[in-house]
Symmetry: C2
Subunit: 350 residues, 2 copies
């Protein structure tokens, strides 16, 4: 069996980390009865430069025709003065929408080997193991109408019962495979759209998932709880912008955004990307941490049904972290600095 | 001179902490050439119970006729099933809007005496001294239209140049009195309303405040930076909901939400309230930390032009924290537990 993978290296450190994933997948293929066929396509700033479009139709077509998409990162100062549809980020939003990947999974786990790099006290973060399920194709990112006449501007945060139910279902199903608890995060004390969110989650819970523990939290309190007591969380279910904020807050627990993978899933092709951005300040210097991209690749393998290979990747990573090599973001006293490709190689060979 | 103060004790721990502020103000009045005249009025759940309205007109009138308003907290499980305009929180939003207090100031400082109760490593938080300036009467909290037909719901995040400029001005002016730096937080890579926010802040900076250092940050990154490196912030300028979230994140730095005061200012009467909520779980037990309310009272004194009295309050608080008494939220090994009123008394007598 050959899996068709579309690669969207994008901008900044994107190409460097995607390269490590490809090398890893090649090693996996050698040891397995399946293989990978790659198509590289343009996205983000790179696509603006080459095609004047952050998400060209040919890229969308390639993605839709493949079994999975691996995305590095998009954006950078070079394109910061562009506005609207011409921004690299618009390309990212477009491919999420085109692939209809409405559920964005962002797991965070803090093993003891990483707790020491956390800005939080180790006692508070060791053993954290949570999964944010962020709605990805609705909410204020896509709600109509929007406007900006130079004197007044507005966006619309909008959700339908159907949009809420389908992503809530994903969260409840993951909870059943984990510690059976969902925390739904909203701002129902202020926003109408959050009241619909909360009512819909409650009703679905009652009808189909009453075996799962469910609680509700306001977004302001949730970001605070994420710092004070992150171990209370198992699965977090939330909307697009609250998930954007809350998952970045959760990214601090392990001490580096360079550790956080994500999988964006819908009915068809999945999109797998690290949570970190393009990090233009360190691009091209071999300083990027490939772990988030590699963990995203493991999530891809899971989604393709190759759970054994995914587990092997995670074990290789854990073994690699047993060595004293670390990329710059995690390199404290007592560790030896490693480049992106040295770290990638260590993980591959473990 | 007699200052007219309207007291809105509200719900949960609100009455307990407001009581400590009143005792403190009485002590201050004894030693000064000014005094206070209090009017107590109903707000939040207490007002729903008594008047079927979380913000009765008589309360609004009393607030408008006074020099300052001290608010405890509103809300609680008793009123959680109410919706829309009947919620305690709607009363809070209403009084903010009626007083037109568009700038909500939320300072956070972490002296060494508090760093030990922080969930973050002391080295990361000692010396933090930041001020969030949150826009309070616009944005998605008040934007029209809104709707919820049970199948689809929406809110509108809306800002005008005028609304952005007036709150930005407050932030720049505070920066000049502090460390001369403003970080404006938005989501300009996705939202039209944030693009107007950023353009307006940039233009005002250029025109009137080019001596102040200005940078821009996306809200997702800002909550992360708040945990990783909070000392980088001096004044944070942001919109209503981003400010709600980010100020709660900043509240974790000192280890307890019970420490964070706020002042909501417009052109007329100011509203002074702790950032913490009504904490129904500990209400009526003498467990509440009065510090946030007392610091809010100090902000009120500053706003009334009684800076000397405000400084005396802050010094009393600092001296009180030199003793080993702490309310439950901060009471670790080596400390003696103190009740709300014991802590209040210690601060008053210092
Ligand atoms: C780059 C940006 C548009 C994006 C988002 O806000 O979704 C990013 O922050 C993310 O979380 O994937
Ligand atoms: C109670 C709630 C409506 C309020 C808000 O969201 O503004 C609170 O969280 C705050 O920050 O003052």
């Amino acid at each position: 069996k050959t899996y068709k993978i579309t690669l969207l290296p994008g901008d900044g450190i994107g190409p460097e980390v995607v390269a490590e994933s490809v090398k890893l997948l090649d090693v996996i293929a050698e040891k397995s009865d399946f293989s990978f066929e790659y198509t590289e396509a343009l996205a983000g700033g790179a696509a603006i430069d080459a095609r004047n479009d952050p998400m060209p139709q040919e890229t969308i077509d390639a993605c839709k025709a493949s079994d999975a998409v691996l995305l590095g990162a998009v954006g950078g100062p070079k394109w910061d003065d562009l506005t609207g549809a011409m921004r690299p980020e618009s390309g990212l939003l477009k491919i999420r929408k085109e692939l209809a990947v409405f559920a964005n999974l962002r797991p965070v786990a803090v093993p003891p080997s990483l707790a020491e790099s956390s800005p939080l006290r180790p006692a508070a973060v060791i053993g954290v193991d949570l999964l944010t399920v962020r709605e990805l194709t609705g909410g204020i990112y896509f709600g109509q109408p929007v406007g900006n006449d130079g004197n007044e501007a507005f966006n619309t945060m909008r959700y339908s019962v159907e949009e809420i139910e389908r992503v809530a279902r994903v969260a409840f199903e993951w909870a059943r495979k984990r510690r059976n608890k969902v925390t739904s995060v909203d701002k129902a004390n202020v926003l109408e759209v959050s009241r619909l969110w909360r009512d819909t989650v409650k009703a679905l819970h009652k009808k189909e998932f009453s075996d799962v523990e469910l609680d509700h939290m306001y977004i302001d309190n949730a970001t605070m709880q994420m710092v004070i007591n992150p171990r209370q969380f198992d699965v977090i279910l939330t909307g697009n912008i609250f998930g954007d904020i809350l998952s970045d807050t959760s990214a601090t627990l392990g001490g580096s955004l360079g550790l956080l993978p994500s999988a964006s899933l819908g009915k068809g092709t999945g999109l797998f990307e690290p949570v970190h951005g393009s990090a233009p300040d360190i691009a091209g210097q071999g300083k990027a941490n490939p772990i988030a991209m590699i963990l995203s690749t493991a999530m891809m393998l899971d989604d393709l049904g190759e759970g054994k290979a995914a587990t092997a990747v995670r074990q290789g990573l854990e073994a690699a972290l047993g060595h004293n090599l670390r990329t710059a973001d995690l390199c404290h006293e007592g560790y030896t600095p490693a480049s992106t490709s040295e770290m990638g190689e260590l993980i591959r060979t473990e």
